[in-house]
Structure formats: C-alpha cells, structure tokens
C-alpha cells in the first residue's frame, strides 16, 4: 500500500513516508531502513506498518493469480507456474542435493501448527500430524497444501525510535541484506543463495555470533523455505533441520525457540504484515510479554526474511536492553 494512502486514511501528515517493495522481505527491509533513518537523525520515530485483507479482500483465485505474476512475464508465466510451483522446483532440488524427504518437510508444518495453538489471533487452531501433511491435497509437488502458508487477512505495526521508550527495550544490533536474483530461472546454485550472504554481513556489522542467539524468527512461506533458511543461516546443519525439529530443539522450551506465534504457515500470511508478525512476536518474547508462550531467555533474537523466490534476504539481530 502507498504510505500516503495509509497516512491520509489515518489523518496523519508524516514528515517522511514511502512504501518499500522486496516481496516477503519487505517488513524487515522497512525495519532496517527505519533503523538507519533514526540512527542518522532523519527521524526520531518511524512507524513501520503493513496490513492487507488478502483472504476476504479478493478471491482466492485472484490471490493465486496475482502472486503467480511474480514470475518472468515472457519466460515463466506462459508456462502456468504458481508461487508454490517456484518453491516446488527449489524443494525438489534441495531434497535431491541434501537427502531431505517429504516427511522431513512435514515436520515444520506440524511444529508451526503446534506453536499457533498457543497464539491468540492465529489463523489455525487445530493440531496436525505429519500424516495429515502427507495426506493433504497436492498443490505443486513435492509441496502439498499443508506445506504452504495460507492466504490471510491481517496486519502488523511497530515504532522504531531513536531513544528507548519502555522499561525493557529492544535494540537492533545490526542488519544486512542480499539480493541475488528475482526469478527462479535466474537463481544461483543452492550453495550461493542470499541467506548465507545476508547473515554473514549481519554478523560482521553487529558482532553477534550465532551462538549468542536465543530466539529465532525465520520466514516460513513454505516448509521448504523454513528448512532451507534454517540450514542456510547455520541454525542447523545441511539436511539436519528436520531432525532438530523432531528432537524438540526449536520448541518453545527448546534450545532455539522458533516462530512461537506459528509463523506464516499457521499464524497466517497477509503479505507484508505476515513477516512483520515474526518481529512482533520476537518483541513480545524479548520484553517478557508472550504470556504462556514465553520462552526462558530471549535476550538475543535473529530474524530473517525472504522475498521473491529466495531472491531477497534481510537478516537482523535484536538485543534486549534494560
């Protein structure tokens, strides 16, 4: 949405405003920009906001069609691909190279659903099993319905300020981006995708090591997205993320709590606001306001967003400050 449409509707006249567009990475990219704007003294407070009624505001077919246009208009769209098809292609290759199986991918859907059960406002509240995922309708094989995030209504907002406004604050320690391509046809090899580049840059600018991280909020548009990003970022070894899910490593009370709101897969995906919900949940966890979902120690958080077809990446380290 145009920033000026939002501002007019809510009767505000900001001194600085614009929209950002890097697909699913937009929320974190806006947050990164807001961080730099307040750091540079351009603004004291920046409202970062995203909201869309993707479910009720348009037909499901219209949503699928609009999303399919992410493809190249000449070389991809005439072949009838869909967003799940782009990720299905990536999934087939990743599974081939690293020995990941469909039941492995299903584990991520089950975990996100388990987390959504405890999150008010989540789109789904019925538990699912690996068998449910395996038996769900084929969408773009190897991806099935429960491997895919839903189309949702929703929104998220937060304010990035120069000075801390609450007793417990959250500080952006460092963030970085990487953009390697737009279309899946032009994507680099699996070992050269942007997540690894973005996290390396974020580590360098923040001085934070992965071993410092106590909470992870990782983009999960599809089960394969979450599996790949966890492994690209180094939160799991190659081909090992699913085994770590089974061991409880990413549970709320595990060593690395992950997307405790249920992620895009089960909290819901309303576009830009969908990935911003990861940051909202991280903030709640870091400030001790996550109710019965509260994790033991969310002192350092890692967020990662992905847009396009693993095209645009933003990594961000957050730190709790008192």
């Amino acid at each position: 949405m145009l920033a000026t449409v939002f501002a007019e509707h809510f009767g505000i006249r900001p001194a600085y405003a614009h929209a950002v567009q890097v697909g699913g990475a937009t929320g974190l990219a806006m947050t990164m920009l807001a961080h730099h704007l307040v750091e540079a003294g351009i603004a004291r407070h920046v409202l970062v906001v995203g909201g869309e009624n993707r479910l009720t505001g348009q037909s499901r077919d219209a949503s699928i069609l609009a999303l399919a246009q992410v493809g190249h208009p000449d070389y991809e769209v005439p072949l009838g691909p869909t967003i799940p098809a782009y990720y299905g292609l990536v999934a087939s290759r990743y599974m081939h190279e690293y020995g990941v199986t469909e039941p492995d991918l299903a584990e991520f859907a089950v975990l996100m659903r388990k987390h959504a059960l405890a999150r008010p406002g989540a789109q789904f509240h019925d538990p699912i099993t690996v068998a449910d995922v395996m038996n769900s309708k084929p969408v773009a094989l190897p991806l099935k319905l429960l491997d895919c995030c839903p189309v949702s209504d929703g929104g998220a907002a937060f304010v990035v300020s120069r000075e801390r406004t609450g007793e417990t604050g959250v500080r952006i320690r460092g963030c970085a981006q990487a953009h390697t391509h737009q279309h899946v046809t032009a994507a680099p090899a699996l070992s050269e995708l942007g997540a690894e580049i973005a996290i390396a840059r974020a580590k360098a600018v923040s001085g934070v090591a992965l071993s410092d991280v106590r909470y992870a909020a990782i983009y999960d548009s599809f089960t394969i997205t979450l599996a790949m990003l966890l492994e690209d970022l180094g939160l799991a070894g190659r081909g090992e993320a699913a085994a770590q899910v089974r061991s409880g490593y990413f549970d709320r009370d595990g060593a690395m709590p992950l997307n405790t709101h249920g992620g895009l897969l089960s909290y819901g995906h309303c576009g830009v606001g969908g990935a911003m919900a990861h940051l909202v949940e991280t903030h709640l966890q870091m400030t001790g306001r996550a109710d019965r979902r509260q994790v033991r120690d969310a002192s350092i958080g890692l967020l990662h967003g992905d847009g396009g077809v693993l095209s645009s990446h933003v990594s961000m380290f957050l730190e709790r400050v008192r």
Binding site: H72, E76, P78, G80, L89, V90, K137, P138, L141
Partner: protein
C-alpha cells in the same frame, strides 16, 4: 523487462525454438533476452538457436493452477533444465522426469500458447 529487437524468434513469440544469447566480449550465456550482457555490460550479445538438449535441474508437478486456461491442463509438470549450451530455462516436461535426466525439447500447445516440453532422450 525485455528490451531491444529480437534477431531470432523463439517459443515466447510462437516459434518452435529456444533462443539464447552469448556475449562476444566475455562469453557469458543468458536466456532472458536483453540488448546487453548482464555479466559484463557489453552491448549486443549474439543470439543463437539452442539444440534443445539438456539435463533436468529441478521438477514440480502443478496440481493447483492459477487460471481457468491453465486449470484445464492440471496436473502438469514444470521443470528447470540446464541446456547443453550452458544456460538454464523453465519449461514443461513429462510427468516421470527426475533430476539429472538427459532430455530434449519438443513443443506443445498449453493454454493457447506454444511451450517447450522436454522428454527423456532415447538411450539406445
């Protein structure tokens, strides 16, 4: 975002052909047509007609389509192919294709358009 004039028509223009570009300066191959080389910036990459031979890089079977025209074809298999000439492309393929299969292109009608469709090379 294509620009520049096409020297050779390909399937995107309704011809039963796959065309790629090769940079005379740096030798890079590119599949998305441009009036310059995306690797080095040199103008006027040379267009070539591809053999249609390649190796399957990735596959997916689309079971939920986006439009009424494509829905009539469900399920259909979309693949990424590494062409023998050194570029990657998206196409259709037989439903039993697997990653690593050696394939060759034919052309079929799909949703009112001619599209490349790959099948396994006959291994005699």
């Amino acid at each position: 975002m294509s620009d520049g004039k096409r020297a050779r028509a390909d399937w995107t223009a309704g011809e039963a052909a796959i065309v790629y570009q090769c940079c005379a300066a740096c030798g890079a191959r590119q599949y998305f047509h441009r009036s310059f080389c995306a690797a080095c910036g040199a103008p006027d990459p040379v267009e070539h007609r591809a053999s249609g031979d390649g190796t399957v890089y990735a596959t997916t079977m689309v079971c939920r389509a986006a439009t009424p025209e494509t829905r009539a074809h469900v399920p259909y298999t979309i693949i990424l192919v590494d062409a023998a000439e050194g570029f990657r492309m998206m196409a259709h393929g037989d439903s039993d294709l697997a990653i690593g299969d050696r394939v060759t292109a034919r052309y079929r009608r799909f949703a009112g358009r001619l599209v490349p469709h790959f099948s396994r090379l006959f291994q005699g």
